[in-house]
Symmetry: C2
Subunit: 290 residues, 2 copies
């Protein structure tokens, strides 16, 4: 059969991971290479090479998870975090260089689709994922369909006129300013002293994590009241490491702030590790074929 | 042709409006009756009678907009505001009594679908509507598809630990507590004295409306960062009446709080009047046929 596998590619800030994935979501051969961060040309070459490493004759499509906002209508990348890929027509460019159908989406969206298809949200119709890494990202599956849009969950307003965002966002009181690894690093420095990080808060079981968890719960309440999900999955480096310490306060705030029917939505830890990006990127590649 | 029209029914707190609608969205014959508020039986009978008034042999389906949370999987109503219809299997019950395919959705969702198909958001792929009435509701169309879920836009958190909600919601700092007609009535009483209402604020062009507009803008920013809509439509009795006074502050807050690319999303007034509910309910009835 011509279409029995696709390649999923996770374009991360430190490495590019490409893997062959079948319709059942099983990952076969993979390749990994460091992410060139100096020039766009070097990065594009490295991506093409990573795909070439695992490509076979029967490869039907390639999906990409990219740490960037995506304009799905144009297949272009907006502001990209950590990688030199801003403002290019990524989908057209890769379609031409690979000679295959190409799908792309934001890395957090792709992680959500992976948790839905093979991880902590398997078997649900509607799920929400939040990734707490350096920033806060997220993705949704709504009524059985992966949501292919911005889903900039880190930039929902949880406290009007609150803590300012970092970087290119001009906003205040966005979830990312309270519940990202970066925000937790700042809180660690304030509470524990210079040179400490979020992971010191986690190691000490520090009460600041309950405050962070409460903000996380307020953000989850907003999403629960919008989507009435069956489960909320927490991923990302900081989110997974701090999960047990964030969870009680997040669940308590959700119970108060969510509408009846959404108060007891389970908040669970992401189950997939390194391969999540490849699995989710493969899922959108299969979607591009149908 | 058997399927050339459907009936859309707007079940409102004061009246039931039913109308014949063709595939082009044109409204033909309508019927209107006061909403019985004493018993569920009387209300169901009145709904069936309203449909009977306009029904023809070639009626293919009936769609309902209801002021209630809906569980689409079960076709049941959750908490209903103002009408005696809580906790029943409305879809099954109406399917049986009418002998036709039945679709139902929340009244604010249905209003959003109507503005998308024939009103202020016509021609867009992704739009958000907020209805500022007694409460705050809303609905979305995402990537060309009406979103059939909770969309409880009034209960997104805009100020953690802020003003408590009224009624059955136990939350704090939800958009509804700042930007509903009910909230504006409260603010009018505080600023203008007993017996005054939101409409006195509007009549005076009172600066309190700029504060309300700023909270509205924060809520719109959350939705803009999640969905990157092409337009945001403001409807509802209070929203339409106060639109010109709410708009400047809402647009200014959106410019600061939204991510690049969503800062200049137009915020526009709803265009459809009384018939919006019928048109939107007809749209979901046609969807139920396909």
């Amino acid at each position: 059969v011509a279409e029995d596998h696709v390649i999923g590619v996770d374009v991360g800030g430190t490495k590019i991971l490409a893997g062959v994935v079948d319709r059942g979501g099983e990952v076969g051969r993979t390749s990994s290479a460091p992410t060139p961060r100096d020039s766009q040309e070097a990065l594009l070459d490295a991506i093409v090479a990573a795909v070439g490493e695992v490509r076979e004759l029967r490869t039907a499509a390639v999906g990409f998870g990219v740490p960037s906002q995506i304009d799905q209508r144009l297949g272009t990348l907006g502001h990209a975090v950590n990688i030199p890929l801003a403002e290019i027509s990524f989908r057209d460019l890769m379609t031409e260089r690979l000679g295959l159908p190409v799908a792309l989406d934001n890395d957090a969206n792709v992680a959500a689709f992976a948790e839905w298809s093979r991880g902590a949200a398997q078997g649900t119709e509607t799920m929400v994922m939040l990734t707490l890494g350096t920033g806060v990202g997220g993705g949704f599956v709504l009524n059985g369909r992966p949501y292919r849009g911005w889903a900039e969950v880190g930039h929902i307003v949880v406290e009007k006129d609150g803590v300012p965002c970092q970087g290119s966002c001009t906003g205040h009181g966005h979830l990312e300013a309270y519940a990202s690894g970066h925000a937790a690093d700042r809180i660690a420095r304030e509470r524990l002293g210079p040179g400490t990080t979020a992971y010191d808060l986690v190691a000490q079981g520090h009460p600041a994590l309950a405050e962070i968890g409460s903000y996380l719960g307020a953000g989850i309440a907003t999403l629960a009241n919008l989507f009435h999900p069956e489960v909320v999955v927490i991923g990302g480096g900081f989110g997974v490491a701090a999960f047990d310490l964030l969870h009680p306060a997040a669940a308590e705030t959700l119970r108060v702030e969510a509408l009846a029917g959404a108060r007891d939505v389970p908040i669970v830890r992401a189950e997939l590790g390194q391969e999540a990006g490849v699995v989710g990127a493969a899922l959108i590649a299969f979607d591009a074929l149908s």
